[in-house]
Structure formats: structure tokens, C-alpha cells
Subunit: 364 residues, 4 copies
């Protein structure tokens, strides 16, 4: 399977940066789930470039649902969302030198030069708009079951956000913010740093931290579809993600077992862990605690500074200076994409575990 | 799919820690590939507990190939390797309190108490012996195509190994070492630290770093089967792995684009990158440079120190002191498992890209 | 996977009879394959209802390719074709009594009443237009490799067409015919019988016979993805197909081994079989002879005659008389759908066997 | 996926006719399902060659369950059954001329001569013993949910068995018979005909008819995983099956819509159909009526009569006279294999629909 992900609930992505339309097919979702178009619009808004810290390309993202919804609810058959590409300026892009950090070279090798290279084609971050739209439907479905996802920019340009203190409440709060941080002051510092990098013709990266509350215990497989495996699989498909860790992740590797294990306790008759260093997952399976994980997002590869490269035919080295509209950072825009793939993976895992109808909630 | 991984080349794992046999079915490998039983034995030897830094459980790992090999070569049909469990002491394990950091609780929720709980059952690291045996066949197949994998213990108990300087030569060297480090002195320090932790009734974790040389460019998919996605999927299925990063990974998130991009250059008419900060992968697709990635391995959850927990029925909290034989560290044993899943993922990706026969090499 | 079929080359279908758009995503096809829009239009024309032997619903099937094609050739990334639904008359359809032979009842049970019931919704034969469009691209790809598919109406309303005598030439000929028979006289008889059934408020079924020439030997898997399994899987997804047989099929069950085996012989140094009773497949794998198989297509369930049924709520029995526009036969329209799914299955099987690039032909 | 079938519940087959062991891994079955070893033994007994109408090869089929069962019940993790090959006489098989009707030639093309050719290797009907053992576990699981499967030899050597009159009772009855017919007299005639064919150095085929009672409505997918698609996929993987039809199948193609539709009616408040011409499936989804389908099984290709063929190297034509032990018919032995793959497909479809735990029944 190439551009399709999932087993019971699956999503297929299509489109190119400068093609007619991009879109997503979301299949396998339970019938009868309310589809909130304003939530889709909201999520697309969060992904959209914002002010001086993003590319000047402006897309209205006027999505259209052409199948799978009837009288405001999912039918249970494939739900297809189309998003037209309006603000394309192909003139900005010709098959120039290979852009470092991009897929220009690897796409060329893989597709023998037949790829639609304009604006990165199918590799463009633009495609994440379709993923975000599909993810919004999944996010809505999970909310109906009391499962909530929130992601903040934990680090950006070396500045660190505050830690989660009340995940349940904070996920809600984060979902209404365009620049998702827990500490507004740190957020202002990050944005200043992004602007400064832009001014220098450069870009910055960052780390996203996601928390999921309300996740039932007992979901995931021992080999090979651990919950970590499935989430990481989807998260690493987000352009720019180069690292994923669960719970305390790489920091756990520095600890002793007595500092890494989460002791079990009883709370109101329910088994909980006193700490959550393992990020809500033991043996690949959810343990009922909040899921916690982080993604490293590399700095945007499109920078204005001149770079060493090779021409498109691979015949001679040349100095490359990129034109066009670029993001000095994508970590704040990638946030909603992380939420989206998380929601899609969880819908799939839950439907595999509890059957197609589970996500319908009370009525099931 | 539950305990099966892969599309064109796939592996299925079965067995429990204290069951009769564990095993793996490796399917889809090209016909005619030499199967070197001594390489399988060697890899199992590397995984086997070693001296004072490992559990006292000793398994001979007398594997038996019961299908898929004829006259010393793969037939192209499923290759099945069985490994009997000999040194099982079930008396050591009764359904006691839930072991923190283990899958006892999550397995109980998922399987409703019907799971074979002895020694962790199907969740036991013991199952990685079968994975290692299957991986050895995949490693052999890749060698026939000039693709080599090597993993070293980059960090353990806070001690850092030397960096790769000549990956091609060093992978070879690492594959002959039981405790895989590039700097023998650092390795001795690590082992001393493991022994010390063991003496304290505790355990330590570490970070593995893997390099793959000879990987052709153009392998991987944009959405969602990026090479990072597929490798991370398999790596996170290794018990204890809580983080995976490619190239400079999380460190990239701290850098600027100009410091993160790998400039292209021509070398003997071939396109290369001057640096390899992206770990040989751009846009999810291999770029012909060595693949580089790291796994965070948490400290072994089985420790001798008393821990807070809850009894198996979830009725009352209790203090748990583990008996039995435990590893004060698994990072050195997990090394060969990382090599194995890497080899399996690459065989799959290559067979998907170039067809079933590609791995046969010259003769194809 | 629900509405997606295939492993290396896969197709996803979406849409409802009376929704905004139907469509297909075709993924995994090699890059660089010419996409002939006139062939797509031609195939859609063959599927379109024709004159007095079909429904009065007329769709222009003005398809639009919105992704995956660049400068007239496949890019190798998902190719998406959209077809708007123009001539919908939803007034004709209200949630009336359950239509016998249709999916009204089963859809209701499966989707709990949330399904888009208008015109059969996602179960409508209308969706086969999208399948036909995707299939046309696959047919074009196979032609580039010398593989040709042809289907004729072997039987309809009890009238039998002539047998294939020169498959290579006849597949070509069939592909230009709206009513695909080898013997034009028999075709005229069939059409008269369809008209007569229509006049009686009834419908007829038929049998389609498909032949594939130019198929390489060695494609298919022993367990469980035999070539027969994969073709049957896709053929049984065509609405109305209730039987599939390969070679002499059910007739083989009446024969002795000496009459059923195909003797091997040498022809110009190439191994062939003297007869082709097994339809070009031995042990689930193609043997290089033409593939031959047949599908039984049941009579259209929508008939004008009154039928016994139950109301939509399942509360009371009632007499049902269908209104709306119906086909007195679909076998002649299903023909091109059989060609399409055959092409899609073969593209997938060939890409699995020989790699992604094989379908590009000479240039590969 | 090659030798693995299924999505939520899946089976992997391995082994060769003359290898050390054959086996099956059954994965995804709910935990807590009783595993009745005597039922496995009984099903293997039904598959075993019987008296003068079968091959003289006698296997004890002493199966061993090495994983996935604990205290007599499924654990929910992979259940592996091994069956040693005892009565192998490899001396009977050398790489002789290509046997017509067998996979000798296609295997050679696919595996380039590296296949284990002895006794048909991985293509041997012998492998169905492993499939039967896995199927027995699935059959037991379905029984716990009131779903029963029965198959009879509808036709053999031109002799027709009686039709089902009381499927519920008759499935039970059939499961205790070695030669499964509803009319014992017809069964005796069939066996006489098989013996006669054997005497003539020839073989005969037949048609199997399967009925499934107790199947819930609402299971199956519109595109492409219709219940017919999934069953046909698995049934066509049984060696020798060349045709599959549902309900009245090919006979429906000869009828009018008014004779093919199944009228709905109410029976004790439940929606039923008055007839069952569509075999319990509408629009690819179960409708709550018994599933009914038939498989055409070709005559055994191994016959004693001399046949025209080509030598193994494909260099010269030669006359082939088979030695060794052969079945003059396999239809009576294939019966239990049809039951097995049916059970496996249904367990998978039900688990996909209702979740992993559904098959546990009351306790779920």
C-alpha cells in the first residue's frame, strides 16, 4: 500500500502542490458520526500560514466533501474531501538545481523524472491540508468517545515551552490557539526567533509534544503493531519529522530502571500508574494513562541563503539561491498535522480492537 | 495484521517465553539466496545473555529450519525457523503483582486474563530470538547485494561510545563483537556500570546507533510508507525501545536550516551529499548515502529493588519484590535485534521497489 | 482495508449514486506511463447505458483527472479521477420498502440507517464508472507491455455467443463494440431478448467470458494470493456477479484427469500447453497461455413487476412496485467493468512480481 | 502478503510435502476460546486419505500446538500448529518431466528452479493438513457463537447428491462423515466411480456445496471485500478449485429478475427472505439467511495414464508416466479444507466487524 494508511479505518492521500486538487479519502469510520464542517475549517485555519512567520502563499482551503456524508453524519462508506489549489504560481518553480533537504533528488531517482516537480509536487507540505481535513473528522469522532488530543510547541529555536500540568483542560485550550504554546510569553519569544531567522534568510525547527487523554487501556499489538509503532509510522510520514519518542523517550535511556518504571496504584478502584514516564504505553499496548509523545521537526529546508547543489540533470555542481515563498518555520503549522495523524491512528486502532461501530459511542 | 510485518517480504512471530517453541516465518524472500546457518547461529549468539551483565537464563537456541530452504538456498516459499524453549523454570513465575514497566497489566486488559503470563509470555524479550534468526537470513540476503548493517551502543549508563568514522569497515567489525562498541575502553566502562547497577538491584538503559551502507537511492514512499516510517514501525516493536531518530534527529530541531540541510555535490559523476545530517533519507526516500538512526532503549523493567504495585486481580496495592533471573541491561542484547528488524524492513522495501527477484543479486 | 484493493498497485473507490461526485484513486502505477484520456472516455462510453436495452438515466461522465498525471504521463504518485453526478433525480427515490436483490436491507443493518440510500448509494452500479475510468489507465499500461484483455457476452437470456477462435485479434475487435459479442447475429438475438424482458417488466442476466493474452508466466502466489484468488476477489466485487470460473471451470468437475490436464509441448523453443482447459493458470500461477475466465451476472434486481417485500423500518410486509429508471440487463455494461478489474489485478500482480517500474516497458 | 490471509484474524501457511514439518500460524483470534484438540484430530482424520479411493501415502498427522494456547484456551496471541512429515518417500520423486495440471512448470518459472520440487513442495495438497488444523480452531470458535458450517459432495463423477433440506441439522451430520454426502446411496455410487477411474489409471473431479447457518446479517464490505470476494479468494487457494458460485450462481445468469430476486418477508418479527437464491448475500453483505456456495474441484492431475510433456529443463518433449502414490479423486478430501477456509474467512470478517472479542461469545 503506498499512499494509504490504516487497517480498519484508513486514509488515502492524493494531489500535488500545483495540481488541480488535493484530497483525502477516509474509509472505515463508523456510520452515524456527526461531521462538523466548522471543525474541519478550524483545523485547516490552524494549519494555514500565519502572518510574518509563514510563507506568503495564501490558500483559502475551500474544502468540499463529495462522498460519505449524508444528512450531516458519516454514512460508513468512504468520506472524500477535496481541496482545490487556488494560489499556485508555477512560474516560481522550474526544474532548477536540486534543493538540499527536499525530496527533489530522491523523487527524481524514484520516478525517473516523471514526477510533478512544481512546488515539491506530491511531497509538498501542501498535501497535509488534505490530511488535516481528514484528521478533523477523526478528531470529531474521538471526541464523541471522550478522547482528546492536544499538541504544543515544546521547543522552537532553542526556547522551551512550559510543561503540561492539566492535560485534560490544556488540550482544549491548545486547540483554539494558532501558535500552540502553554506559556504565551515563551510563544512570543519563539515567534520573535522565527522572524529573526527569516530576516537572516534562514529557518528554524522545533519539537512538538502531544498528549491524548481518555484513551482506553488494552489497545495495540505486541508484534509489530504496537501503539508506538503505529503512531511513529504515521508521525514519520509528516514532512520534516526526524525523531519520535514516547513518554520520557531518549531521556529514559539515561535512567535506571527504578527511575524509569511507573509504579502501579489503585485510584477509585481503577488501576493507574503513579508516574507516566512510559507515555501511557506498556508492551506496546495502552495502559489507560494519557498517551504522551514528542516529534522532532527539522528546520524548513527552503531557505533564502545560497546553498551548494547540483543541477537537475546531475551534470554539474552549482550554487543555488531559492526564490518563491517559504516558511521560516513549519513546526507551528505541523502541530495540527500531528493531531490529525494521531487521531487517524487511534480511530484505526480502536476500530480494530472494538469493531467498526465502537466510535459511534452511546448509540453503538 | 497482528504479529506479521511487511508487504513483499514479511515476517510472522509466534511463541511464548515458557511455551514449547518460539519461531518465525519469513516469507517473500527471493528464491536462490544462500542460507548460512552459521550466520544464524552467530547472530543468536550475539543476542544470548553474556556473563555477569545479563540474565542467568541460558538457552542454547538450537534452531531448526523446517521449511523454505532446499539444498542450502531459499526456495522463495515461507522459511520457518523454530527454536525450542529449553531452560524454562516456570516455578519462578506465578501470577503475582503487576510488574511495573512490563506488559502484565496491559496484556491482562487486552486478553482478559487468558494470556500465558509465565515469564511475560508472548511479550517476552525471548521472542526476539526468533526475530534474530529470521533477521540473520535477511542480513545474509542484503550482503549478497552489498548492503551492510552495523549497530553500536552509542550510550549506556551515561557513557558515550566513539562516533562512526568509517562506517563501511566498522559495520563489519561491530558484527563480530558481543558487546558492540567502537571504543573498547568505553565499552569496558559501560560494562562496569551495568555490573554496578546489577549489584544495586537496579538496571540501566542506553542508545543504539545503526548505520546501513550500500543502500540504493529511490526506496521508500512519500505517504505513508516513508523509509523512516517503516523502520520506526519495526524498531518500536522491539521491547524497550521508546525513541527513534534519523540522522541528527532531535538535534536537528535545535538547528537552523542552513545547518540542517545536506548540500548536494558530485563525486565521481555520482550525486552525493557533503554531510549526512538527514541520515540518508530525503522526503521519506533513500538518497544513496548511509542510513543512520538511533533507538532509545529504556532500562530493563525487571529490577530486584522493591516496587509499588497492585495485585494481579487489581484489588489491592502491594509491595512487589521480583525474583527470577533478570538482565541488568538489554541494550547490548537489543543491538542484534535492531540489525535484524532493519534488515527485514530493507528486504521488504527493496522487494517492493525492484521486484521479488532483486535480492538474488547477479543472477537475477 | 475496505474500499481499497491491491498491494503494489491499488485502487480506492468512493462516492454515491446521488452524491456530488464519484471517483477513484489509482496508486502505485509506474511513473512515465502515457495516460490516454480518449481511452478513458471510450471505456466510459462502453459502460454507459445504451438505447432501449438500458436505463434512461444518462450521465455524460465528464471525468477530471486531478492528480498523478503530469505532461500526459503518470507521475507514479496517486492518480485521482473524479466524475460528477449530473443526472440525479433524487425525487425518484425515497426510503421505501426494501428492494429484493439489492443491498437496501444489508446496508441498513450494516450502517444502522445512516447510509445514503438514494439510488443505492455507495452500492450503486454507478460507482463502476469510477472503476472503469481507473481501469482504463491500467488497460493502457498493460497494452504498453503487450498484454491485452477482451471480454464478450458468452450467454445472455439463454442465447450463446460464438467461442473465441483467435483471442489476440478478437480482444481488439471486442474493445470497439458497445454490445460485445463475437457473433453479431447472436448479439442481435440477445438484444431482442433484453427488450422483450423489459417490455414484460422484467430483466435478464448473462455470462461474461474474458481472455487475456500476452500474460507472462510465473505470476501469482501458491497460498493465498493465487492469480485465481486475486481475480475472483475483484470480479466478485462487481455488483451482480454470483459465479466465477477459470478455464473450463465447473465443466472440469465433470471430467476425468486425462481430459482435464493440459499436456505440455515445445513451440519454437518455448514451453506451451496443447490445450488450455486450466485457463492459463497452474498451481495459482500464470503459465504463459492466455488467461480465460467467466463471470455469471445475475439479472438486474430492479424490475417493474410488483414484488413482495417489507417496509424500510422492518415493521410490516408490503407489496413493492419500483419506479425510476432501470436496466433490463447489465451484463453488456458489466463487460467493461470486468475488463477494468482484470487490468487492475494484473497491474498489481505484475508490479509485485517484477517491481514498480516493470509496467513502464522498454524504458524501464 | 504472500502465504498469509486475513486482516483481523489471519492464517500463515508454511511447509513442503517432503520437508521436516508443515504448519500454520493462526493469529488474531479472541482470547479465551476453548481449543478442542480432538476436533483438530477429527478434522485431520476427515482430510486423511481413506481406503481405496485415496493415495496410499499415510500420515499420522500428529500435530503439536507450540504457541497461543494456555490451559486449553486461546491466549489471543499467535497459535501455531506443527505437523511433522513422516511418511515421505522422496525416492519416488526426481525432477522429471513437467507434470501436466500441476505447478511444476509455473513453480520453476517463478522460483527459477530453486523450489523444493519433491512431491510438489509447497504446492502440495499436503499443506492443506496445516490449513485444516488451523481451520478446526476457527470452526470451534464459530460454534461457540452458533455459526455452523457443512459441506457435502454435491457432484462427483457425474453423480449428483441430494439437496440440503434442513441445513442446521445436516451440517452436523455431514461433519461426522468421512465421505460427505446427504444421500448414502449416491455416495456409494460416487465411490464406485472413483474406484473405477483409479483402475483405469485416471481420476475424477466434483463439486462441493457448503452451507453456513447462524451467520449474522451486516457482515462484508461493498468494495472490494464483499463476503463473496473474501470467500472466493480463500476458496480459489485450495488446490484444484477452478470455479466458485454463490446461491444459484451460474444458473442465476439464465433466469429473469423475477425468478432471481429473493422476496423479503417477516418471520417472528425478523426480516427474512422467502427464497435464498442469492446464497445469503446481498450487495456483498450477509443478509442473515444461510450462506450457500459451491466449488468446482477438478480431477486430480496425477494420473497413471501416460501423458505428453516436456522435460524439466524444457529442452525436449517426452512421454511421462507418473509413479508414486496418487489420489484418484480429491473432492472428498477437499471438503474439510473448504470448511476450514470458510471458517477462517468468517472469523476474520466477524472480528473486523464486531471487534477482536466478539468470537468469545457470552463472556465478551
Amino acid at each position: 500500500m503506498k499512499n494509504t494508511f490504516g487497517t480498519s479505518v484508513c486514509v488515502t492521500l492524493f494531489g500535488e502542490s500545483h495540481g488541480a486538487k488535493i484530497g483525502a479519502v477516509l474509509d472505515g469510520l463508523a456510520p452515524g458520526i456527526p461531521v462538523d464542517e466548522s471543525l474541519i475549517a478550524h483545523q485547516l485555519e490552524l494549519r494555514r500560514p500565519a502572518g510574518s512567520i509563514s510563507t506568503a502563499r495564501r490558500e483559502q482551503d475551500a474544502f468540499e466533501i463529495v462522498s460519505g456524508v449524508f444528512e450531516g453524519r458519516t454514512t460508513g462508506t468512504p468520506l472524500t474531501i477535496l481541496i482545490p489549489n487556488a494560489d499556485t504560481r508555477s512560474g516560481d518553480y522550474t526544474r532548477g538545481a536540486l534543493r538540499p533537504g527536499h525530496a527533489d533528488y530522491t523523487a527524481r531517482v524514484k520516478y525517473h523524472g516523471y514526477e510533478d516537480f512544481r512546488g515539491g509536487g506530491h511531497f509538498s507540505g501542501r498535501i497535509t491540508a488534505a490530511l488535516t481535513a481528514a484528521g478533523a473528522v477523526a478528531i470529531g469522532a474521538l471526541r464523541g468517545r471522550g478522547i482528546r488530543i492536544g499538541t504544543h510547541i515544546l521547543r522552537c529555536a532553542g526556547i522551551q515551552d512550559a510543561a503540561f500540568t492539566d492535560p485534560e483542560a490544556q488540550t482544549e485550550e491548545l486547540n483554539s490557539k494558532v501558535f500552540a504554546v502553554l506559556d504565551a510569553e515563551k510563544g512570543a519569544e519563539m515567534q520573535a526567533a522565527i522572524r529573526e531567522a527569516a530576516k537572516a534568510g534562514d529557518s528554524v525547527g522545533g519539537v512538538l509534544e502531544t498528549v491524548v487523554t481518555g484513551m482506553p487501556a488494552g489497545v495495540g499489538e505486541p508484534w509489530f503493531d504496537t501503539l508506538e509503532s503505529m503512531l511513529a509510522h504515521a508521525l514519520f510520514a509528516i514532512p520534516g519529522v526526524k525523531g519520535v519518542e514516547f513518554g520520557e523517550g531518549f531521556a529514559l535511556a539515561e535512567k535506571r530502571g527504578s527511575e524509569a518504571n511507573d509504579a502501579f496504584a489503585l485510584q477509585a478502584g481503577r488501576i493507574v500508574t503513579r508516574t507516566n514516564r512510559n507515555g501511557g504505553i506498556n508492551g506496546g499496548i495502552s495502559n489507560g494513562m494519557p498517551l504522551v509523545f514528542r516529534c522532532a521537526v527539522k528546520p524548513t529546508p527552503s531557505i533564502a541563503l545560497p546553498q551548494d547543489s547540483v543541477d537537475a540533470e546531475g551534470m554539474k555542481e552549482e550554487r543555488l539561491t531559492l526564490k518563491g515563498r517559504h516558511d521560516p518555520a513549519i513546526v507551528h503549522r505541523a502541530r495540527v498535522v500531528a493531531d490529525s495523524v494521531t487521531a487517524l491512528v487511534l480511530c484505526d486502532a480502536l476500530a480494530q480492537r472494538f469493531g467498526t461501530d465502537w466510535l459511534r459511542g452511546e448509540e453503538a
